[in-house]
Every structure is written in structure tokens, then in C-alpha cells.
């Protein structure tokens, strides 16, 4: 399980899980689940386009993820964010359908772009993943305070001169970076599950932001490591295990909260 080609899988999954834990904390806090689904899924069109004109897949993913973030941010100024996101993802997928019709890529290639092929990660793919991951985390920590304030108390943030729209766009770009980093190694499904499941579960156990973020990284790591191990033993796709473990940890978090609520607690301690 820890030999040769498997080492790359463990390393790639570990990098992705740390970034997903950090970025996912804000994704859940800001209610940006739709964007976290739309950007990785839509950016796959960029990968298809890149293979069509013969450039690196990461470049195609990055360009499309960024364009998608700007489209959501731009349309979202005058419309509801969910409508803007829906329009952006269908436009990206429509272009993806066009690119795919022009290439001769075979079905399994598309399957691996969507669902990931973590067991087939090569050493040369690890370096860009790690580099973009570091940038992504650095941006989140640089923006930590304004991002947190605008997520929890948008009005207070505006009063202190933090632009809500600016933070929205900044965070969309962070998701775009996470997308570019993760999709080539783990696929769009897996990064989405990791951005939502572990952070949502972590929030059930603690309300303090730094603790919740730390716990979210721990849960994300636990999820991918367990998923790789199960996948290795059972020969079933890793995406299935990540999805299942994420759902179970969320359910466990909810059960824990519900169990705590039945005890007599002062009403103001329960939100």
C-alpha cells in the first residue's frame, strides 16, 4: 500500500486535503457550496480545451477556473449569486461539450477528469500541485481577518471598510486556485466533496474559527487517507469512499449537536 506509485497518491491526496480543509472552512462559513461545485466542474471544459490545442492541462484548468470566478463575480453584482453561478457553470460546460465533440478523447479520459485518477499521479504533477496549494493557503491567511468578518458580519465589515463584493470575488479566486491545484490529481468530484463534507462536520464540533479550521483539516486528511486505503483494498473508486465518508462525518456531527441540545443548556448558548 505504501510502495512505489502509491507514494505519489498519498502525497497528492495529503496536499489536496490540507488545502481543502483550510479553504473549505470558509466555503461552508460563506455558504459558497455552489461555487465550490461549479468551478471544479466547469473548469473541466478548460482541460478539454487545453488538450484540443495541445497546451498543459493545468493552464487550461487555471484559465477556465479564473474566468468562471470572474463571471460569477461579475454577474453576481446585479443578480442573486446562485443564478450567476448556475449561468456560469452551464456556459463553461457548454463550451466543454463543444471541445469534447472536436477531440477524439475516449470516454475513460473524461471519466478520469471528472472523477480523478489519484492512483495514477506522476511525480511531475506533484510539484505544480504543491506550489499552487501553498499560494492558495497563503492567500487565505493573508485575507483571514477581512474574510472572516465579511463572512460572519457583512454589515460590520462594510462599516470597517471591507468591501463585501471584493471579498466575494477574492474568495471565488481562492476556490479557482484550489480547483486548478486539485482537479488534475483528484478530479472535480473529490475536491468538491472535500471542500464541503469535512468542514461542515468540523463546524458541528466547535464554534471557534481557528479550532474549526484545524479540525476541518484533520477531518479532510482522515477522509482522504481512509478513502485511499479502502480503495486500495477493495479496488473500488476512491470518489465513492470520499463521498460516503464525508456524508457520514456530516451526519455524525449533526447527531452530536442534536445529542448536546437535548441536555439542559442555557438558551443563549444554543444558536
Amino acid at each position: 500500500m505504501f510502495s512505489g506509485f502509491m507514494i505519489n497518491a498519498w502525497e497528492a491526496a495529503t496536499i489536496v486535503a490540507v488545502v481543502a480543509g483550510v479553504v473549505g472552512f470558509f466555503t461552508v462559513l460563506r455558504g459558497s457550496a455552489f461555487a465550490a461545485h461549479a468551478l471544479p466542474n466547469g473548469a473541466f471544459a478548460g482541460a478539454a480545451g487545453a488538450s484540443l490545442i495541445g497546451v498543459n492541462v493545468i493552464v487550461g484548468l487555471g484559465v477556465f477556473a479564473l474566468l468562471g470566478a470572474l463571471t460569477i463575480g461579475g454577474l453576481g453584482r446585479r443578480a442573486r449569486q446562485d443564478v450567476a453561478t448556475a449561468l456560469a457553470i452551464v456556459m463553461m460546460l457548454g463550451l466543454g461539450a463543444l471541445f469534447l465533440s472536436m477531440t477524439t478523447e475516449y470516454a475513460p479520459e473524461i471519466y478520469s477528469l471528472l472523477f480523478g485518477e489519484v492512483l495514477g499521479v506522476s511525480s511531475s504533477e506533484l510539484l505544480p500541485t504543491a506550489a499552487i496549494g501553498v499560494v492558495c493557503i497563503a492567500v487565505v491567511f493573508a485575507l483571514y481577518r477581512p474574510l472572516l468578518l465579511s463572512s460572519v458580519m457583512p454589515d460590520a465589515a462594510e462599516a470597517r471598510g471591507v468591501s463585501t463584493q471584493g471579498m466575494d470575488l477574492a474568495f471565488l479566486i481562492v476556490i479557482a486556485l484550489a480547483t486548478t491545484m486539485a482537479v488534475p490529481v483528484v478530479g472535480s468530484l473529490l475536491i468538491f466533496s472535500l471542500l464541503i463534507g469535512p468542514p461542515a462536520a468540523a463546524r458541528s464540533f466547535t464554534d471557534t474559527p481557528p479550532k474549526a479550521m484545524g479540525l476541518s483539516v484533520v477531518f479532510a486528511l482522515g477522509t482522504v487517507w481512509a478513502a485511499i486505503a479502502f480503495s486500495y483494498v477493495s479496488n473500488l473508486p476512491i470518489g465513492f469512499f470520499v463521498g460516503a465518508i464525508s456524508a457520514f462525518s456530516y451526519a455524525a456531527g449533526r447527531t452530536w449537536v442534536a445529542g448536546r441540545r437535548t441536555r439542559p443548556v442555557p438558551t443563549d448558548a444554543v444558536h
Binding site: 457550496a33 448556475a86 449561468l87 463550451l95 461539450a97 465533440s101 464541503i196
Partner: protein, 292 residues
Amino acid sequence: MPASLAPVFEPGFFSSSPVHVALIVGGVVAAVSGVVGTFTVMRGQAFAGHSLADIGTAGGSAAFLIGISPLYGFVAMNLIAAGVMEMIGIRRPRGRDLATGIVLGAALGLAALFLYWDTTHSSTTGATINVLFGSIFELPSSLVPVIAVFSVVATGIVLLSYRPLLLSSLSPELASARGVPVRLVGIGYLVALAVAVSLSAVTIGAILSTALLIGPAATALRLTKRAGMAMVIAAAIGVAATWLGVLLAYDSYDWTTGHGWPVSFFVVTLVFAFYLVTDLSVGRLAGRRRLR
């Protein structure tokens, strides 16, 4: 047909039977999506509407495995998913996206498993593409009665519960003060949404399903504040985009040698363009009014 129209309507467009089916089914599905989608946009459930198209993939690929029509797998999976979303909190605006996201993540995991089995345990290598991208030109005509029933169910629920649905979408507090069973109406609407999305995702693919559900309705709601009118406009925009898209896709066989361009690309581009033009012109008008 006058010869002057020949460059627009390629020879054979009106006599090709796949084109007939595509125009009829696409038109019906677009109209249903417009009617149901108006409330999807008003209720802020665009993410749920899009997710159901992806979630149904798990049911569709499971149906492939046991050899029944993907449509039944889609509907069954979507009804279950809508139920779970309702259970874990799609009612609260703050928990809405999270509830949808959790269900979507779990369902995509299942889809990965079923699609993997589809490709390894049977010879249907095309299953992934078929389920994810569906094609309007490859509809079996045996689906037509099922499509009719589903369309009637989805629009029927929306039209029958129109007034309470409208009130509870605009103001849940006011609705419940007036004795509207807000939760029941919400569940009824989610069922209509699940049925409508299953219908559109299986017949015209997951991409077009979301495009026709959200795009025309969002455009219509920029043009009018009246929900009834918005439903009519949304249906009209959806049908126009679909028919124009089918026409362009048919014509595109002559643009590049060997193959045509996908219908979904044209329809999505048209829907997006409709929205963008409306958004920009309405925004400019509103700006001018503000200046006066």
C-alpha cells in the same frame, strides 16, 4: 419552402425524423423548465435545481446496471435526494446551500461507483457520456408517453399550488400567518422540481437541464415582477433558445467537415446571451431612471 430560406434551413431539416422528435420533446421540456424554473429562481434554489441533474446521474447509472430505462433511476434517485435535502434543512436560507452540497457530494460518490461498475461489469462504455451529456438527437420515441406524464405532473403541481406557492416563496412568514402550510407547499415544490429536472436531464442532458431551468426564468424575472407573466416569458425564451439551437446544430454539419457541433453548446450560448442582453439593457434603463 422558398429558396431564399435555404441557407437558414438546411435541406432536409423539416423532413428529418430525429429533428421532429428533438423539436417537439425539446420544446415541451423547455416550456416545463421555464414554468418550474421561475419558482426555482424566486426561491433561491438554483443550486438544488442544478444538483438534482447531477444527483440523478447516480440513479441513471444504477438503472443502466440493472437494465431498466435511466429515466426511472433518475426520478427515483431525485425524489430520495429531494427528501433528504428537505430533511437536513433546505428551508433555512443559511443552510440551503450546505444541505444541497452534502447530498450532492454523497450522490456523486455513488455515481462514481455505479459508473465504474457500468464500465467494468458490462460492455456499455458509452454509459458515462450518455448519462452525463444525453443527446436530443438520439431520443427513442418510446419515451414520448413518459415525457408527457412527467410534464403534466411537474407543471400540474406548480399550477395547482400556484397562489400558496407564490406567497410562501415571496414571504414565508406572511404565508404561514395566513394559514398556508409552508412546509408542505415547499415539499410539493421540491417534488415538482425533482420530476422536471429528471425529465430534462434524461432527455436533453444535465447541462441543458440547468441552462433551461435557470437562464430563461432569471431573464424573465428581470423583465417583469409578475410571476405569472414571468412563467410565460421564461417558457417562450426556453422554447425559442431550444428550437434555434437545434436548427444551428443541424446547420453546423456543414461548418466543419465530418461532424456537427453539439446542440447543448448552441442552446447554452443562446440562453446566456438572452440573459446578458436583458441584464445589461434593464440595468441601463434602471440607471437612467435613477438619474431623472
